[in-house]
């Protein structure tokens, strides 16, 4: 089995799909339970205009949970994958911008309460958050790659 075959093997793909869905559902639950705290987290990023902070705090967790559910249930997989990929890119860019301007923040990714970290601890956590998001982005890439390969093979079966 080649590396490419291993990377697109259905055994791996289904597990990545379930894991990514579960991660996004787990990330959404605390935000849905306590929207004001999540709005505070978004505010701390200092990237969203004031009038939009609450709207995004309300919308984003539900987008996360629906995309996660779609992946787990195997419904609208491509749309869910695209939505999750977009959100991950936004998260990474948002954290990078704040790292660049020295605004140390709590990610608010899986926990919406203040973590009580020092400035340096927050900066370090932000790098780890980016790494984690890149990992999830790689999972999205694996799903897309596996589907593309499957589609190609179904159209043109090997001779």
């Amino acid at each position: 089995m080649t590396f490419r075959q291993a990377l697109t093997h259905p055994w791996l793909t289904i597990r990545v799909q379930l894991a990514l869905g579960a991660i996004f559902i787990a990330a959404a639950i605390p935000k849905i339970i306590d929207p004001p705290s999540f709005a505070h987290m978004i505010y701390n990023y200092r990237l969203v205009p004031g009038p939009l902070v609450n709207l995004i705090a309300l919308l984003m967790p539900w987008a996360e949970i629906l995309a996660g559910l779609a992946l787990i249930l195997g419904v609208w997989k491509r749309g869910a994958r695209m939505l999750i990929g977009l959100m991950l890119v936004v998260f990474i860019v948002a954290i990078l911008i704040n790292l660049a301007r020295g605004n140390a923040i709590d990610c608010g990714c899986f926990n919406v309460s203040e973590a009580g970290k020092t400035f340096e601890q927050r900066l370090t956590s932000m790098w780890w958050d980016i790494l984690r998001d890149l990992g999830m982005l790689a999972m999205v890439g694996q799903l897309a790659f596996a589907e593309r390969r499957t589609t190609v093979e179904s159209i043109a079966p090997p001779m």
Partner: protein
């Protein structure tokens, strides 16, 4: 489900999310509701302290308070003499001097629904260093006695708020000044300054509570009475946000307790739990 194009699927998921969000918000308890359109005038402004060394993590209330006093300063409104705080000797060197007053960015402060008549301006305050944490903080007297002299806390209409330290806060508490707790209601219920009222800037009833306060103090003389706002100290900005909101409705004698509730607890101030002040 016949939506085949991923963009259509993504749009459908987003629409579903929007519907779920609206329904969930409408049916949520008030403490967990959000106004759909937020009012956060400083949402795009990086806090000045963001690039400065952070305060140590408040793993406990006392630790937090001690950490804050090492690097913070207390500001006073012009005309306020130094507080007679034995824990703040003038000879104590300041560890770090930072801007005293969060000068309200007049063009950025949201004018609340109620009208404002304050001409925006910026004024520097007078500073003095806070005593190192090693010095024991004096116990805070119980509130209710009007014996404390608070005449030095004069109105300062030119700025939204003045940051003050524990000694000044204790004096104002003893004099029966109005205390507002800007933290979340759930945190307020776990413990707050005795007599304080809960007005969380992150909850949907903010405007209603502010309006009620304005109705209670619609007279100019009432609005000139000292009001102390606090949150959790450290990086917490909720008290500053609420102070700017009150300034916008003509409250011109608002003080922000810089070190917040952890410092109050450390000083042994009167604390209550539950929803009642």
């Amino acid at each position: 489900m016949t939506l085949r194009h991923p963009i259509l699927q993504t749009s459908a998921l987003l629409m579903g999310a929007a519907i779920c969000a609206l329904v969930a918000n409408a049916t949520a308890p008030q403490q967990r509701q959000l106004r759909l359109v937020g009012s956060y005038p400083n949402a795009l402004r990086i806090p000045a302290r963001a690039s400065s060394p952070a305060l140590p993590a408040p793993s406990s209330a006392s630790e937090s308070a001690a950490a804050v006093t090492q690097t913070s300063i207390v500001s006073q409104a012009p005309g306020i003499p130094p507080a007679t705080d034995s824990s703040s000797p003038a000879a104590t060197p300041a560890v770090k001097i930072t801007p005293l007053v969060h000068e309200p960015a007049s063009d950025k402060i949201a004018k609340p629904t109620l009208t404002t008549s304050h001409p925006p301006s910026s004024t520097n305050g007078i500073s003095r260093p806070v005593a190192p944490a090693a010095n024991p903080a004096p116990p805070v007297k119980a509130s209710g006695s009007a014996s404390a002299d608070v005449s030095r806390f004069s109105p300062h209409p030119e700025k939204a708020y003045v940051e003050i330290g524990g000694a000044d806060v204790a004096a104002l508490h003893s004099a029966g000044a109005l205390f507002l707790d800007a933290r979340r209601t759930s945190v307020f219920e776990q413990g707050h300054v005795a007599g304080a009222r809960s007005i969380s800037v992150w909850e949907s009833d903010l405007e209603e509570k502010v309006r009620r306060l304005f109705d209670e103090r619609s007279d100019a003389r009432d609005q000139a009475k000292p009001v102390v706002i606090y949150c959790s100290g450290g990086d917490c900005e909720d008290s500053h946000m609420l102070a700017e909101k009150l300034w916008g409705i003509q409250f011109n004698n608002v003080y922000v307790y810089k070190d917040g509730f952890p410092d109050w607890q450390k000083r042994g101030g009167a604390v209550r739990t539950g929803t009642a002040p």
